[in-house]
Symmetry: C2
Subunit: 396 residues, 2 copies
Amino acid sequence: MSLAHELADPLQVRLLRLLRDEGPLSRAELGDRLETPRTRLSAELDRLVAADIIAEAGPAESRGGRRSTLVELNPRLRFAGVDLGATSIDVEVVDARMETVAAYSEPSDIRIGPKAILHRVNELLGKAKVEGAYDRLDAVGIGVPGPVSFRDGVPVSPPIMPGWDRFPVREFLSREHGCPAVVDNDVNIMAIGERHGGVAHSVDDFLFVKIGTGVGCGIHLAGEVYRGSDGCAGDIGHIQVDSQGPVCSCGNIGCLEALFSGAVLGTQALEAAKSGRSSSLEERLAANGTVTARDVALGAMEGDVVCIQMIREGGRRVGGVLAGLVSFVNPSMIVIGGGLAQLGHILLAEIRSVVYRRSLPLATGNLPVVLSELGPRAGVAGAAVLASEIAFEQAL
Amino acid sequence: MSLAHELADPLQVRLLRLLRDEGPLSRAELGDRLETPRTRLSAELDRLVAADIIAEAGPAESRGGRRSTLVELNPRLRFAGVDLGATSIDVEVVDARMETVAAYSEPSDIRIGPKAILHRVNELLGKAKVEGAYDRLDAVGIGVPGPVSFRDGVPVSPPIMPGWDRFPVREFLSREHGCPAVVDNDVNIMAIGERHGGVAHSVDDFLFVKIGTGVGCGIHLAGEVYRGSDGCAGDIGHIQVDSQGPVCSCGNIGCLEALFSGAVLGTQALEAAKSGRSSSLEERLAANGTVTARDVALGAMEGDVVCIQMIREGGRRVGGVLAGLVSFVNPSMIVIGGGLAQLGHILLAEIRSVVYRRSLPLATGNLPVVLSELGPRAGVAGAAVLASEIAFEQAL
């Protein structure tokens, strides 16, 4: 895949990943798992110990014969994950084992521009430092809600992020924190999060479909994020699903995102509440002064037929697009995440029904379509994992 | 990517590929190009010379200092490529440099079953042997018009190939010719052919769209064929393009293939000829007793409006599907091949127009949509390249 990793020492990265994901391991066990001769591995370990990236952690349990020594990642390693949404900032600091040591989440508005947003990110990270979450960061990973040049570490013509076009996000964070930084699209980091610690654990070929304010898709092939030749692969929100449909914000007609997304569902919900078509939404509007996609989910749980129909109709649209992609890419799992995943099983059932009906039997014979396990944490968790990968590649 | 290659020695394969594609190289040049230390490379070369896979080819031109020796692939190496179509058999034998030394092409009918078809393939290969094209084959590659389990070397539930389901094609050919064999989908081998010796030369991420009796897509990512988790990736013929469209042979409604393919165009042409709507097709029907997709192409070249419209309508359908795939996979090139590529520039112009209009600017800013360069030879050339790859992996 077109990865940034290509030039890194594979042994170093593989070794550090293994310690991150499995914890302390004996030298003997590492040799077995990495299929590396003893002398080569010893040299590598000595190098990483000298650089303070890994540490000895006492004797391992005996396997017979000479005792082996346990090694682990330096417990002081810290990675920051940042997930910028259209209307939110999520920040986490994690340790060497990807355990959360500090987490902040707050509403925001991506449109206030890169300087104000990234300043706030730095404030939150500063707060974590003051509170003792870290002495220094080893890498920062950040996801943004728009297309990114992964190679250059900048957003590229992001439609909902005025002022961010080609802003040097990676350089800005790297300089501030004196460590490597990495910038990716929000859907890609969610897919990475879900593969590391969620429902797609150890699945090599899967699609992560985010249905939130907009709709996008993270593509994981052969265990790696696939970003496409310009870094904008996965932009499924603008696939046409109805040639007679409404005009989309992108200027085309009948895009998926113009027919089903958080924004569209909110508008539909308001209309159904005002017209009185849905008594459940009408009541919520009266009580709260507004209704959103969340109210549609709650209405559906109470059995409101109009709410259920709105979700089914959306699921049918998403399912139609996914059916085509399943025939095209033949993945082994589809994960549904993002804010609208809260619509839950009604949405999932409709998506499944269309995908299973419309794709080739060979491609769907064994194709789970499941909800994200990490939910709102998928992005920030994935950003931290991506940060660790960059740190592992650039160590030494 | 999910490749069969994973376990092979990368150095061996990289070295043999380089000699295949560039011809004789000096030991010094090989060391530079493969970025391999001299002692490691020498050991590898000695091993391959001893096994008669490569040969010394005299002294290289001096680069100053000690003269280096040229090495080349053993000129006696021979690979066979076989491309089975729904109604044709193409066979080629190529040498170590992928130059054709024998080629046969004849009409056939895939429905007569694997034994009869493969028997005929063996007869054609036998004929090549008698005519002096080879003493023994080093590998055979074959493409079939249906889904294939690449790992198992067998067709899997191929819709238009009765009797072929799970027939051990690889084993059959391997036993007959006493060499490794490899089986793939016909579209994948066309993509491989086009990347090795055609318009997609050195392009890492591209889609090869075959429009023939059916419609399919070969997916090349990061320089390798992407086959998906069950080996059926690229089956775009059954993506729905019109929910009110005709019933497809697969049982679903409005599949791309049910609206535009060689078969559909033939039916449409016959209807337009009989009804007299197209005078060009009417004349051809009278003259030849039948009309096919080829007559539509000829009619369009003469300016027949009905023929032009039929091609444009088809291009619009294909373009609509490709626009979605471009947003999804962000390739750096699209190649149009297969029998209907003979519809030429009218088809291409319509596909381009829809793709450029409907995909994201970032993804299409630099996206050539071009016709196959190898034409009918793409499949058989790719099968021979695939054969060489298998031979390179399994050598020693």
